[in-house]
């Protein structure tokens, strides 16, 4: 199918190392979101990008998280100097038009990151 895909599905990283997570969104979708979902604690948005912006707008105060969009339908979430607290499921979502909740967000299956 032509849904949102993410890779890798599972990632184990040593504390302090950098990791990169990939998202392939639905062709034609404009806005890409990255969410972090922690077990039992809900989720938070990390960053999002609209249109062809290569550098994403970070929703988090920490500079360790950033996202780039080398192609319109591809986004890479980069986490620098990983911490154990970064262990979570990272979800990517895309929507046809950004900023309007009536435009449904389609989610990928997520990448489960474990930081040791």
């Amino acid at each position: 199918g032509a849904g949102v895909s993410q890779s890798p599905r599972y990632k184990v990283a040593k504390r302090g190392r950098d990791v990169a997570l990939r998202c392939d969104s639905i062709s034609g979708h404009v806005t890409l979101y990255w969410y972090r979902q922690t077990l039992g604690q809900g989720s938070e948005v990390l960053t999002y990008s609209q249109s062809d912006a290569q550098r994403d707008k970070s929703g988090r105060p920490s500079g360790r998280f950033s996202a780039e969009r080398p192609e319109r339908s591809v986004s890479t979430l980069k986490i620098q100097r990983t911490e154990q607290g970064d262990s979570a499921v990272y979800l990517c979502a895309s929507s046809l038009i950004g900023g309007n909740p009536y435009n449904e967000q389609f989610f990928g299956p997520g990448t489960r990151l474990t930081v040791l």
Partner: protein, 112 residues
Amino acid sequence: DQQVKQNSPSLSVQEGRISILNCDYTNSMFDYFLWYKKYPAEGPTFLISISSIKDKNEDGRFTVFLNKSAKHLSLHIVPSQPGDSAVYFCAAIPTSYGKLTFGQGTILTVHP
């Protein structure tokens, strides 16, 4: 600070009965609310939504109720079916800002 809370981590219901999943929020800027359903190894999929100008939205077996004064919403599934067994997330969004805030999720198990 969790702005969207689902206080019941799990719910078990008999097939054919009603399932009621609850969600509370604290941010008064939220004016659009959604429920997502998630199966294992898959991403969340949209189920039903409601705007803050309404207090009820119905779609087949699924009905979402919104109580703005209590900052509470609920999802009713009637009748419940075994295929409804999944994790249900409520989410909220201020319409001026497209990012969703999710609750922790509730695992629904519907027994045959």
